[in-house]
Symmetry: C2
């Protein structure tokens, strides 16, 4: 059976049997870090006040950012390294970020996964096991514009899917993305070309950017369990 | 002075001081071929019946396609090689194509140019001479989806702009596109990965595809003179 892959450069809400959301810098990478640190669920909320209320009512850890930095009243920002250093075992997390939250909310599929460079191989294996007829790689972008880091994350997942010998049909957008990982440059070099990487490097998050560019370093697949609000737990 | 470049993968109608429309397979390539063959103006019309009426009333040559082939009552299809072989000296052309016409109609800028791989260097020189503060590279796509050939055309123009030593600010989408021309593959290899190239090769237009992939082979810059309907003439 062949899997048809398409890619959108910014979220459109287009439905697909499986949707993988990419916000490599940094929401989906931070979610992967949080699950690696022992979190049991991540709820994605768009509005900071709603996020504060939900975390207060449920006793969840509240993570998120606006303009790159943690919001007042939040337990932490949107930093994967910060999440890895927190004691999150057995905890639930409410996440509220600028672009990633919107993308996760827009995702419309039977399977909705959070993808990043750090978990590309795990996501690829999960997709092949789920065997959907079609997969939409949904890049979060930044304020409605393409983000190079998200497209690179999608390319890393595609590369791993192809390495598994899976039969695929690839849209032109997927073929364009794959060129990012066939140029011979290391991933961090490509990530650092992204406008948002340059922004984060400039406000002291260069270690987060480097962390986000390490392919297949985390073996977690955040998979949606409930849709309103989008609630993710570890999937296979 | 620095020029800010952005790229859209499908037409959105977003305004920019300068907009370059790319429909490499084949509308903008055919327009370049028609001007090279001596055409004085190209009027772009979306609806085939409107195009027929306009060509009849004005005595223009009527070119265009649906699903790749010429429409009934049209003088020719959307083939650059066919256009090069016709006697078009001093003639006006009405063009009606599936995706390129829509993209040309959506373009909103003080400068609107038709770009392709064949005229990439000429378009780059024209942009630098016009010195807009911002340029939007608008890819026509195919039925609302990204077409690899259009993004490659935009990448060829960007490469020529950079070769001129122009100071630029490039969006992530532009940086992604540029990766297409930095991979070391020849342009026809990349073009032939596009779904629409495979379609055209399959219905007998492989020579048109090869023609469209020849960088800087035509020294023409179709520039918009009037907006409703979009009317193009040779610009500098």
């Amino acid at each position: 059976m062949s899997i048809a892959f398409d890619l959108e450069f910014t979220p459109t809400g287009r439905a697909s049997e499986a949707v993988v959301v990419f916000d490599v810098l940094r929401m989906t990478t931070t979610a992967c870090a949080a699950f690696t640190a022992g979190v049991t669920s991540v709820v994605v909320v768009a509005d900071p006040d709603d996020a504060r209320a939900m975390a207060r009512d449920s006793g969840a850890v509240l993570l998120g950012e606006r303009e790159g930095v943690a919001l007042p009243g939040f337990d932490g920002g949107n930093s994967p390294l910060e999440a890895m250093a927190m004691d999150l075992r057995g905890r639930s997390v409410v996440m509220c970020t600028t672009n990633g939250s919107r993308a996760a909310l827009a995702a419309a599929g039977r399977h909705v996964l959070l993808g990043a460079i750090v978990n590309a191989a795990a996501v690829a294996r999960s997709l092949v096991e789920r065997a959907p007829s079609e997969v939409l790689l949904s890049c979060a972008g930044t304020a409605g514009r393409t983000s190079l880091d998200d497209v690179l994350g999608a390319a890393c997942v595609l590369r791993e899917v192809l390495a598994l010998g899976t039969e695929t049909r690839l849209s032109d957008a997927c073929r364009l993305a794959l060129r990012l990982v066939h140029g011979g440059d290391d991933l961090l070099t490509v990530v650092n070309e992204a406008a948002h990487a340059r922004f984060l490097n400039g406000i002291g998050f260069a270690d987060d950017v480097a962390f986000a560019a390490r392919a297949n370093s985390l073996d977690v697949v955040p998979a949606r369990r409930g849709a309103a609000p989008p609630t993710f737990a570890l999937g296979s």
